[in-house]
Each structure stands twice: as structure tokens, then as C-alpha cells.
């Protein structure tokens, strides 16, 4: 019970009652009665006030003029929100907090509580700005709390010249009147004479509303700064989210050494295993698959015995890689830090669910190795935050420029960071005056993500092992540096059957929907060039097993492609064997670079049009495509349109429709990546 009041102090002076004192019995009785009654009254009083706790109007007398309120509290930016489920309100709060960074002061406001006709007075405040976060509901309607504002906008004939504004709309593309409210407010305010200082933002909840908001916000503030002639520095140290605590005397048993979830979860493994609790699988095999060429393609086998992990062919295995230690060391050297310092980064917002950016306490070394992404080119907001640490004016300016929304800045970022594939170390090396504190850097870098691979084995044949087929990523950048893929190089260096982390892979299985047909008699057409062959190795193993079990197995057709027959024909022996045994009814292989003209899987498909149509139309075949998303998948799909149109006697649009229907019905499945 809240506020039950103080404990009533009834301690009648019974001790003194026995003595002969100035107090008579009657006095004592009266005193205790009064005390009792007083206590009762006090108790009752508080109680009456608490019982109707329903309408708790928390704030005292509310000014319906937001202008007065802003003047009183020294704000210049007001962010109104039209919110039904709280999202727009949340965005409004975040925007109003942002203002602080730019030497401005913002406040979020519910339009229902104020007289919006006061907007015409906003110019009374210096550097004022009205921002609107408006959600659209139902058939293009305003949210409940914005209804009055909407009505006023429609009817009023106000003169809003002098009012500066910007609008961010929250909507959903699956609804017909996408962002109608946001669009209306933006248009109407301008009609009434107000000055738009930044373009309308259109957030799409069907896509990624949060991302839309962040993107809009990242460009909105620079525009505001430009307009008001303020600098985005505001304070010397920009807003840190976390506070660094260095531990000098710490129990090493409480320090994280790379676990994803529970402390010591890598020492005491407990099922069930998933993304937050990965299983440390022993690598039992790691061999090179290609016979020649410059690339390194590999086949790995992970032992999942005793893990209770189950999988089906077609599923994905997720692995948590570690960054290259030399890269980590170089970062430590260039920043002059002892990477083995144990520290914690604690969230300054105590209400946040996210106490730390990654498991803490831990060492910088562990953070940079297991928890942080140090190989991808950093995003603009990272550059923005780091700029303050560049002591050379030129470097600082370049960093700020690349983080800005100006066209020139965006172009510079694109060429100097993205196209040149500069990671954080490269940036530190190429900007010698930029030496940020390592803890701030750790706060800014994104988390290291798990990598997914299509499982290359069948659980019917290999229930205790998961096979992986991958190619190591390695390339030279425009700056002459050699960039290496994190997970593929880490996997490459795994040594089978050794003691220790060198042969352990933290992993879990992510179920996919890429599945063989329910009936073994259904024909399958598998198209998987390069490492796209991975899931099909599992599929073919399973079909072989089904055959052994005496089931009637339908046509099993494979279209595979690689560069050179003698160099990178993956699983050549295994495929030949399956083909010979009759499990693989058709083995079609394209060697793209073995002749003058490029020959790809789609060319082979085109050579077998009639057969493919027969399998599709009469055999009810299922099609599977795995591998490169950008070109191969699209080219293969176009080839199917061709085959269907030609042999199915259909027009192109009809053929496209036919193929799209195959996808809807689960007869054309994709497992592709870019």
C-alpha cells in the first residue's frame, strides 16, 4: 500500500500511570483518547485521499499555452506527437532530447493538451522550431490525440508565417492511405504560410520504421544546424551513452572471456542451445575442397554429439566467429592501450534494459575479438562521434564532412570509406591525429554478428555432425590493404581434434524452410553453383538414404557450376558416386571459365527445356535455387519464365505468374545470399 502514512504512535504513558505524578487517571485517559482519535483521524484522512486513485492528474495546473511553458522552461523546440500506440510519442521524446547536443532545448508535447493555434506565436521564441511526429491510423485518419489538431488545421485560417517546422510521418505501406496524416500536416502547414526547414519523413512500419526514423533524424539535425547557424558540438564531449569503469581488483571468475550469454556458459555447457547459448562444437574435419586456383574452398565437419541439437537438411548453422588477433593487436598498439585492462561500460540511462553494450566486465581484447565488429567500414554516426578526437583540423573537418548530409560529404564517405573498404584500423592509420579513447570506440562499434551457412549434410545420414561448405573471403582494397572475411578465415584456421578453443566453434542451428518435398517420389531440380551446392549435398545424401530405406525416390536433378573443372569442382567424387549409384538422376555441370564464352547453370537449363517442363508439369517437381542472389538467382528465374512460356504455351506475363505461383505454393524455394 502506498503511503500508508506514519505508524501511529500510540504509546500511552502506561509506565508513568503507576507512579504518583502530576497526571491524574482522568488526564491519562483523556490523553490516550485524544491520541487515539487523532491517530484515527489522521489515518482516515490519508485513506480517503488514496482510495480514489484512478484519475491521477500528475502535473499541477497545466498551462494550455505551450508557448508560455516553453518560455518558462527555456525551450525553443517543441515536438508534437500524434500517437496511438506510443511509437510516435517515443520518437518525439528522443528528438526533444537530441536538441541538447546542438545548444538547443526541446520538449515533447501532446497536441491534445494544448491550444495549437498558438503555433502562430512560436516565432516569439528565438531559434524556435515545431516538429511533428504524426502517425496515421486506419483509413488515413489522425490518431485520437491529434483529432483536434487535425480539425483545427482544416478549418482554421491562421497565418503561420514565421513558424518553422518539420514533419516525420509514421505509417505502413500495406495500408492504402500510407502516411496520410504526416503528408497532410506537412502540406497544410506550408499552405498556412509556415516555413519547412526539412523534408517530410515517411516511416514505414511494414519495412523498418526505426531505421527510417534514424535515417531521417541523422539528416534532420544537420539541416537544423545549418538553418540556425549552430554547431553540432554544443558540448565538448558529445553525449556518451555509457560510462567507463576500470576494474583494478577484480575476481577473474566474474570476467567475460567471449561468452555470448551466461557467464561461464562455455565452460559449463547446458542445453538447450540457441543464439543466446551457443554450443561449442568440436571441429573434426577441415579440408580444402578445391584442387587449384587462388581461392580457398573448404569443407568442415562439426561434432554435435551429446548436444541434443537436431537439424534437417536445408537448415542453417550459425557460428559466432572471432576477429583476427593481429588486427585486434594493431588497434591496441595504435591507440596505445593495454588491451588486457578489465573494464565495464555501464549505461548512463539506468532505466534502460541494456546495461552494457556487450557482456561486462571484460577486457578490451575480449571485446574487440569476440564482441565488436572491427572489419566492416564504420557508419557515418561513428565518424561523427570520433571527429572530436582528431587534433588535426583538416582531419576533423573531413570526418565531420563525411558524416554530414551534404552531397559532397556523402560522396566523400562513399569513396573514401565504402568503396575503399576502410575499416576502423585503416581509418586510424590514415588519420594519424585521430586517437579516440578506446572505451568510446568500444561504445560506437556495432556488435559482431553471427554468420550463417547452409548445412551440407543430412541428419538422417549424419545425425551427430553438421557439415559446412564455404569459401574464404580475401581481397585487396584500393588502398593496397588485404581485407579478410572474419568468419571464413577463422573457420579456415580451425584445427580438427585439438584441445582448446582452436578447434571449437560456438554454434547453433537456425531452422530454415528450405526442405525436400514431403513425398520422396516428387522430383527435385536443384540449382546451386559454387558454394551454393552446400544444402544439395545434404539433400542428395538424404535421397540416397531414402532409397536405401526402400522408398520410391523421384528424379533428383542437379545443376552445378564452377570456374574450372580441374580447379574448383566441389564434391566431384561424391557427386560422381551418387550419379553412378543412380541416386543422382542427372548431373549437369557448367565450367564458366573453361572456354572462351562464359557458360553458367542457366545455359545448361536452357539446353534441357523440354525435360524440365515435363518434370514441372507432369511430375509436380520442386525447384531449389541456392547461391548468389544478385545475378545467378535472377538469371535462373528468367530462364524458368522462358521455359514455361515456350513449353507451357503461355505469354510472358502468364509464365511469370505461373512461376510466382510455384513460389507461393512452396514448389520454388530460394536460399540465396548477396
Amino acid at each position: 500500500m502506498e503511503g500508508a502514512g506514519t505508524e501511529p504512535n500510540i504509546s500511552p504513558p502506561d509506565s508513568t500511570a503507576q507512579q504518583d505524578s502530576p497526571f491524574s487517571m482522568t488526564d491519562l485517559f483523556l490523553v490516550s483518547l485524544i491520541v487515539g482519535l487523532f491517530t484515527y483521524w489522521w489515518f482516515f484522512r490519508k485513506k480517503k485521499e488514496e482510495v480514489p486513485d484512478l484519475p491521477k492528474i500528475a502535473a499541477p495546473v497545466r498551462d494550455s499555452s505551450f508557448i508560455e511553458k516553453m518560455k518558462k522552461t527555456g525551450r525553443n523546440i517543441v515536438v508534437f506527437y500524434g500517437s496511438q500506440t506510443g511509437t510516435a510519442e517515443e520518437f518525439a521524446n528522443r528528438l526533444s532530447k537530441d536538441a541538447h547536443r546542438y545548444g538547443l532545448r526541446g520538449m515533447a508535447a501532446d497536441p491534445e493538451e494544448y491550444d495549437l493555434s498558438d503555433l502562430s506565436r512560436l516565432s516569439e521564441i528565438d531559434k524556435s522550431l515545431a516538429v511533428f511526429c504524426m502517425a496515421t491510423y486506419g483509413e488515413g485518419d489522425p490518431t485520437d490525440n491529434a483529432q483536434d489538431f487535425y480539425d483545427w488545421l482544416q478549418e482554421a485560417d491562421a497565418d503561420l508565417s514565421g513558424l518553422r517546422f518539420a514533419v516525420f510521418g509514421l505509417g505502413n505501406k500495406t495500408y492504402e492511405h500510407f502516411n496520410a496524416m504526416g503528408k497532410y500536416v506537412d502540406k497544410r502547414l506550408e499552405e498556412l504560410g509556415a516555413q519547412r526547414i526539412f523534408e517530410l519523413g515517411l516511416g514505414d512500419d511494414d519495412g523498418n520504421l526505426e531505421e527510417d526514423f534514424i535515417t531521417w533524424r541523422e539528416q534532420f539535425w544537420p539541416a537544423v544546424c545549418e538553418h540556425f547557424g549552430v554547431e553540432a558540438t554544443g558540448e565538448e564531449s558529445s553525449i556518451r551513452q555509457y560510462e567507463l569503469v576500470v576494474h583494478t581488483d577484480v575476481n577473474m571468475n566474474k570476467v567475460y572471456t567471449g561468452e555470448m550469454g551466461r557467464l561461464k556458459s562455455y565452460e559449463n555447457q547446458k542445453p538447450p542451445f540457441d543464439a543466446k547459448n551457443p554450443f561449442l562444437a568440436q571441429v573434426t574435419e577441415n579440408r580444402k575442397l578445391n584442387e587449384g586456383g587462388e581461392r580457398h574452398l573448404m569443407h568442415l565437419e562439426l561434432d554435435i554429439s551429446n548436444s541434443k541439437i537436431r537439424y534437417e537438411s536445408g537448415d542453417h548453422v550459425a557460428v559466432y566467429p572471432a576477429n583476427d588477433s593481429s588486427l585486434v593487436n594493431q588497434i591496441g598498439e595504435i591507440l596505445g592501450m593495454d588491451l588486457d585492462t578489465i573494464m565495464s561500460l555501464n549505461n548512463l540511462d539506468e532505466e534502460s534494459n541494456k546495461k552494457h553494450p556487450f557482456p561486462c566486465p571484460t577486457s578490451y581484447r575480449t571485446a574487440l575479438t569476440y564482441y565488436l565488429d572491427i572489419t566492416n567500414p564504420p557508419r557515418t554516426n561513428v565518424l561523427y562521434e570520433l571527429a572530436q578526437y582528431a587534433t588535426d583540423a583538416g582531419e576533423q573537418e573531413r570526418l565531420r564532412k563525411m558524416a554530414s548530409s551534404a552531397a559532397e560529404g556523402k560522396a566523400l564517405y562513399l569513396s573514401w570509406v565504402v568503396e575503399a573498404r576502410r575499416n576502423i584500423l585503416a581509418i586510424l592509420q590514415d588519420m594519424p591525429s585521430l586517437r579516440p579513447p578506446i572505451d568510446h570506440l568500444c561504445e560506437l562499434l556495432p556488435r559482431l554478428q553471427a554468420r550463417y551457412y547452409s548445412i551440407a549434410s543430412s541428419s538422417k545420414v549424419h545425425p551427430n555432425a553438421i557439415h559446412i561448405c564455404a569459401v574464404t573471403v580475401e581481397y585487396e582494397t584500393k588502398t593496397g590493404r588485404l581485407n579478410k572475411g572474419v568468419a571464413t578465415n577463422w573457420l579456415k584456421n580451425k584445427v580438427p581434434n585439438e584441445n582448446g578453443s582452436n578447434s571449437l566453434v560456438p554454434m547453433y542451428v537456425r531452422k530454415s524452410q528450405f526442405r525436400l518435398p514431403f513425398k520422396p517420389s516428387t522430383p527435385v531440380i536443384m540449382i546451386g553453383p559454387g558454394t551454393g551446392i552446400a544444402p544439395f549435398v545434404g539433400f542428395i545424401q538424404e535421397r540416397a538414404w531414402l532409397k536405401q530405406q526402400g522408398k520410391e525416390v523421384g528424379d533428383t536433378v542437379l545443376y552445378y557450376g564452377c570456374r574450372h573443372e580441374r580447379e574448383d569442382y566441389l564434391y566431384r567424387e561424391e557427386l560422381a558416386r551418387f550419379h553412378q549409384e543412380g541416386v543422382l538422376t542427372q548431373l549437369n555441370v557448367a565450367f564458366s571459365r573453361d572456354q572462351a564464352e562464359k557458360v553458367y547453370v542457366q545455359h545448361l537449363l536452357k539446353k534441357n527445356k523440354e525435360n524440365i517442363w515435363k518434370l514441372l508439369n507432369e511430375g509436380n517437381a520442386h525447384i531449389y535455387v541456392c547461391g548468389d542472389a544478385r545475378n545467378m538467382a535472377r538469371d535462373v528465374q528468367n530462364t524458368f519464365y522462358e521455359i514455361v512460356a515456350e513449353f507451357g504455351n503461355m505469354s510472358q506475363p502468364q509464365a511469370v505468374d505461373y512461376v510466382k505461383k510455384l513460389m507461393t505454393k512452396g514448389r520454388y524455394s530460394l536460399d540465396v545470399w548477396s
Binding site: G36, Y40, F43, T85, K511, S512, N617, N649, Q654
Partner: protein, 296 residues
Amino acid sequence: MQPSKTHSSESMSKDLSELMKEATKEVHEQAENTPFMMNFQKGQVSLHEFKLVAASLYFIYSALEEESERNKDNPVYAPVYFPAELHRKAALEQDLEYFYGRNWKEEIACPQATQKYVERLHYVGKSQPELLVAHAYTRYLGDLSGGQVLKKIAQKALQLPSTGEGLAFFTFDGVSNATKFKQLYRSRMNALEMDLATKKRVLEEAKKAFLLNIQVFEALQELVSKGQENGHPVQLKAELRTRNINKSYEHGPAHGKESERINRRHTDMMPITPLVRWILALSFLAMTVAVGLFVM
């Protein structure tokens, strides 16, 4: 689109998945337009209502999944048996415990409309299992589609934690891609061996399933409106709680969350405290008098 004269398009239109979609189009729209669903989509749902829905869903899914288990090896159902990916009973149990507490099983009741649905499920599962797929299709594919949007709405409207408590029902841990899973499910539906007559019966059963769902929601709607008529303070409280928290943002997020927690406790304790207070007050008075008398 001109139908092709080839054999292909005819066989396509015999696919159960396509027939189902077509047959349930109308009744699906009807379900979307029930007052309850329309209000829900606008974020106008109270905790009280939501708890009732969760309870009904628990009875429904318990029945559906019991019958699924019974028929998992039956060729008329096996292809669409996806317990790890789809089953909701465990998730609903988690949510109910979150909303009602440890004794949730004693707290929930099965309304009549829900009971009717449950009985139909058991009947189909035991006596006409070839029709069970109609019920699985109706519920599960719906949950995978609109479910995700509804989850976000429910989370915001009921101020539920972002860590997912109370929303386990909407969370399909075994499905990494809802669209792809639906495609897979359809291919499995089409793998069921079924003559045309049976297909027709399945379509009818699917329509029946939709109608049973509509009836459940309409009954819940009535129950809730009756509660409002009697001046039941609970619904009002939930909406005001939302207001409360919005207002208290100005004082910082800490207060918002606290007041929510306190309000929640208040919701539960309200009926008890006045009585306790009365007793305490009277006993203090009595004690005072007694002391006085003793002293005398």
C-alpha cells in the same frame, strides 16, 4: 488473365492451398471486420480483454494440438504436422502465467463459444481427421501473417515489456521467415492425398473454423461490454494507466514505469485495502479506549 488451354492451369487450380484461399476469402474478411479486431488494430484493447482472449486461445490451441498429436502419423495429417515450428500451447501457458499469476489454471474459464470450438476440434480430430488441416490452416497461417503486426500493437497498447513477456503467443521461435514457412506449409497441404470430394469437405470445414473464431470474439466482446455497463472500473483503469504513463514522461521514464507497476498492484489490491484499513482504524480506536479503561 486468360486461362491457358494446357493441362497445367487446370491441375494448378486443384491445389488445396489455392482452393482454400479462395474459399475462405469472404469469411476471412468478415473475421477482420469484427468490432474486436477493428478496435485491436487501432490499439484499443484493454488488458482485461487481452487476458480473456489469451485464455480462450489456450483452450483452443490445447485442443487443436492434442488432435494434431493424435494424428501425427496419420497420412491425412502428417505432412502438415509441424510441432516445433507452430505449436502455441506452451507459449500460451507462459503468457497466462504472466497475466494471471501461478494459479492461472484456476483463474481462467472457458466461455461457451470457445467450448463449442473446442468440441468441434476434438470431434474432427477423432472422427474426421482428414478435416483437421482446415483448422490448422485457419489458425496457424493467420497467426503467422497478421500475428506480427498484432504483436507490436499489443505490446504498445498494453505497455508490455520489450523483452516479450505476455507476448510469447506471437513469437514463433522455430520460424525464421514467416513468408517462406507459409510457402512450405502450402506445399505440404498440397502433398496430402485427397480426392475432390474430400477437398470440398475440407473447404467447408475451413469456413466453419473461421465462423467459430468469429463467434468466440463476438462473445468476448459482449462479455467486455457488459462489464463496462456495470461500471467495471478495470477497462477504464487500463486506458488511464496509459495516459498516466504518457503524462509522467515529463518527470522522467523512471516514474512512468514505477507508476505502472504500482498501478498494476493497485488493480489487484483495490478490493482488499478499504476493508483492511477499516479494521486497522477500528482496532486502533478500540485499543485506545481499552488502554484508557485499563489505566482507569
